[in-house]
């Protein structure tokens, strides 16, 4: 992709090469020279070409990371190598018309060491490792399904089977970079041992690899946008419909957060163009801005009063309105959590207006928990009992045939609240009610709503 600047009569092309493609850079510049485009300078992350009569020249791209760059350039110029531009302060591009000019790097072993060290740390490379590593960490953390954002894990839902595919997809781009790098490194070491020239990728190979990188990058971006849950920043296939603002702010959040982390760990010029981040003050500003965005976005997505529709595996939504409670607020106060292993919806309703007596304890809670994993379901049940200081063995247990549910737990607490829990297959419904009325009918209504085809 080239951009033509009419005023300056120059053409700008992005610098899309890796450091293992030094030969490709030289071939590319030589090709442009033969087309009448001479490299004028390297501006940030771009080549800037000017129109000129084709000449027979040699280009040389070398990496120098030492402290004597001025002396280095001056000495090269004495040896008839004109320094045309510098990329990222370490990749120098020289040009000479002298066919007999001495090579700039004559020690291949040393050159391999330098390139090997810098190639992986090329600006932006580590950027693409950060996201997958973070997602894998979250993937592992997500196993405790009660504490993270949930997804629908219905086994007939195709997203269930995409979990592993998802991981493979987001890892493919950084893995390609890594594999490509280590394969080159092995070949380079073998070549230097044999006394042969280092096999830098030529232009044809570089173009091919660039196409593969672009395809994998597009896949990675598509997967991030489509599948990433921005609710609580969790790694989950998001079946909960959220407002576009939340999703958009989530994207911004990740973008700025990653930039901040890259700046902190890799330096300010690791991700953004050199001209923008020229001093530490701006780096600090970038980090502060990212942190502000992080706080802002987390506070937005942590809004418990947002409208959300959760589709359970029977496709029927379940709210308190279904139980015929009149006069309640239009909006459910709900908390929805999901991971790839379980989903949970909790409603906390303030029924002060509806109380038949003058009880001050007016919060009515019900919760639906769905998980295909029995250990998660067990853990959830234990957690509910623990939360209410109940010993499980003291709960009234009604099994199977006496109820449509597989099992029901019923507990009356000291302050007259009724805690009920009903389990059917992979679904658990739990209620905490401050008053007696409808304390047990609730489960009949809940069953009809959750399992309508079983009527």
């Amino acid at each position: 992709m080239k951009l033509f600047n009419k005023e300056k009569n120059t053409i700008t092309a992005p610098f899309t090469f890796n450091y293992t493609e030094l030969t490709a850079i030289e071939e590319y510049l030589t090709e442009q020279e033969q087309r009448g485009l001479r490299l004028k300078e390297i501006d940030g992350k771009s080549f800037v070409f000017e129109k000129a009569e084709p000449r027979t020249v040699r280009y040389c791209a070398e990496i120098y990371t030492g402290s004597f760059s001025v002396d280095f350039k001056a000495t090269c110029e004495n040896e008839s190598w004109e320094c045309v531009g510098v990329y990222n302060k370490e990749l120098f591009v020289f040009r000479t018309e002298n066919e007999d000019a001495v090579d700039i790097m004559t020690d291949d072993k040393e050159k391999m060491k330098i390139v090997g060290k810098r190639a992986l740390l090329k600006p932006g490379n580590l950027f693409w490792f950060y996201y997958p590593i973070m997602q894998i960490v979250r993937f592992l953390m997500d196993f405790d399904g009660t504490n993270y954002v949930f997804i629908e894990i219905n086994q007939s839902n195709p997203y269930y089977y995409l979990t592993i595919s998802f991981l493979i997809l987001i890892l493919s781009f950084p893995l390609f970079i890594l594999v490509d790098y280590f394969v080159w490194l092995c070949k380079a070491k073998t070549a230097t041992k044999k006394g042969e020239r280092i096999p830098f990728h030529n232009l044809k190979q570089a173009n091919k690899k660039r196409k593969i990188r672009y395809v994998l990058l597009l896949i990675l971006i598509a997967v991030i946008v489509r599948f990433n849950s921005f609710v609580d920043g969790g790694f989950a296939v998001n079946q909960v419909k959220l407002s576009r603002n939340i999703q958009f702010s989530g994207v911004i959040y990740w973008l700025f957060f990653v930039i901040a982390v890259s700046c902190v760990f890799l330096g300010s010029d690791s991700v953004v163009p050199e001209k923008i981040w020229q001093n530490k003050k701006k780096t600090v500003q970038c980090i502060v801005l990212s942190l502000c965005f992080l706080v802002l976005t987390v506070s937005v997505i942590d809004d418990n009063e947002r409208k959300a529709e959760i589709i359970n595996y029977n496709g029927a939504p379940i709210t308190f309105k279904d139980f015929g409670y009149s006069g309640m607020l239009q909006d459910d106060r709900t908390t929805i959590k999901a991971t790839r292993f379980a989903q949970q919806k909790r409603c906390n309703i303030n029924l002060r207006k509806e109380l038949p007596d003058e009880s001050t304890d007016s919060v009515l809670m019900y919760e639906v928990f769905v998980s295909d994993f029995s250990d998660l379901r067990e853990k959830y049940i234990e957690k509910v009992f623990e939360e209410h200081d109940i010993i499980k063995e003291e709960a009234e247990v009604i099994i199977g045939s006496e109820t449509k549910w597989d099992v029901q737990y019923k507990v009356k607490t000291v302050d007259n609240a009724h805690i009920g829990m009903a389990v059917k297959d992979n679904t658990i419904v739990c209620t905490v009610m401050p008053f007696h009325a409808d304390g047990y009918d609730f489960f009949e209504v809940a069953y009809e709503k959750l399992f309508p085809e079983n009527e």
Partner: protein, 105 residues
């Protein structure tokens, strides 16, 4: 650690240190290395300055201002010690092999 990595010198390194027993700048160092080695060792500017960085970090050389416009380099006392040690090592190699080489001939 830089010093440990320079306990033994490669051939180009040895010749560059030899050359820097005089105060020289970049191109002069390359020419002097070529001269001392009888044209056998040719060092490019990139290789040269990579070496100079290592030597400088290990205090084997120091920068000087030979003229107002050019930065030059010269060996330090530590550099001389390392050079002498390398010379002694190479001499030992030759001495150790002398008798055997005579027999081979």
């Amino acid at each position: 650690m830089p010093r440990k990595s320079l306990q033994t010198l490669s051939e180009p390194m040895y010749y560059v240190l030899l050359a820097l027993t005089k105060e020289l700048y970049g191109t002069e160092i390359m020419n002097e290395v070529r001269r001392i080695s009888g044209g056998r060792i040719k060092i490019g500017p990139g290789t040269l300055y990579t070496m100079l960085d290592k030597f400088y970090t290990a205090d084997l050389i120091k920068r000087t201002n030979k003229s107002l416009t050019t930065k030059s380099y010269i060996i330090t006392e530590e550099g001389k010690r390392v050079l002498k040690a390398e010379y002694a090592r190479l001499s030992t190699l030759i001495l150790d092999g002398e008798n055997i080489m005579e027999v081979l001939e």
